[in-house]
Amino acid sequence: MKFAILVSEGPYTHQATDTAYQFAKAVLAKGHEIFRVFFYHDGVYNATRLTTPPQDDRNIVKRWTELAKANNLDMVVCVAAAQRRGIVDDGEMQRNGKDATNLAEPFRISGLGQLIEAGIQADRLVVFGD
């Protein structure tokens, strides 16, 4: 079965991202496919490579990026939500005259249409938020 996942809250503050990650791992472990993980609202904060969590804590951004790389997941950050909250890739940096980027690999920034497309293409879309 094809799953899509929507993550609506940022790392550490709400458990939503933790649950989404555990859910995604379980989906893959069961042999299902993940069509896309979409990050909306404060969920876009999952995509910054600038976090440095305490040594004895989980590294949420790193966990997502490792899961994505190992399973070739499509991890999409909503551009409008990202602009409001300061998540920037090279293209956004140039378009908006910023002097730095903070997007972690392999996240990519794209439109909200990618969420709708995920809803259309996947058999199930599950939301994790607050």
């Binding site: 939500a81 709708i116 809803g119």
Partner: protein
């Protein structure tokens, strides 16, 4: 393109958080993708479409106008929970757009018919 039934559910009050506004952006995009889109307002979500938002004092953009534009996007299936209105002393006349007022059980049935329900 495949057409699916998308329902966007609003259960949060406006302005205190951004969820209502960002939900509306989802509605507009889903409509642009020519999906079968409906909206449901329950609990504090009914306040989203209360008439007469004057947000100058808090300096946050009011989005009443965007709700009134939904018809132009062919988003006309707008359901409001009767009990949530009553609990807050509101009626359909207090709302900024025409809606279908339904019992919660009836809204539950509509939810069940969807392919995708996104609640904010």
């Amino acid at each position: 393109m495949t057409t699916k039934q998308f329902m966007i559910v609003n259960r949060k009050a406006p302005y205190g958080t951004i969820y209502g506004w960002e939900a509306l952006e989802v509605v507009l995009i889903a409509a642009a993708f020519e999906q079968d889109v409906s909206m449901a307002f329950l609990d504090d979500g009914v306040y989203q479409i209360k008439k007469g938002h004057q947000t100058k004092g808090i300096e946050i953009k009011a989005f009443e106008k965007t709700f009134r534009a939904l018809e132009d996007y062919d988003v006309t299936k707008i359901y409001v929970d009767q009990e949530s209105l009553a609990e807050r002393g509101l009626t359909a006349d207090d709302l900024t757009i025409p809606v279908e007022v339904l019992s919660r059980a009836e809204i539950g049935k509509r939810m069940e018919e969807q392919d995708i329900v996104l609640a904010f």
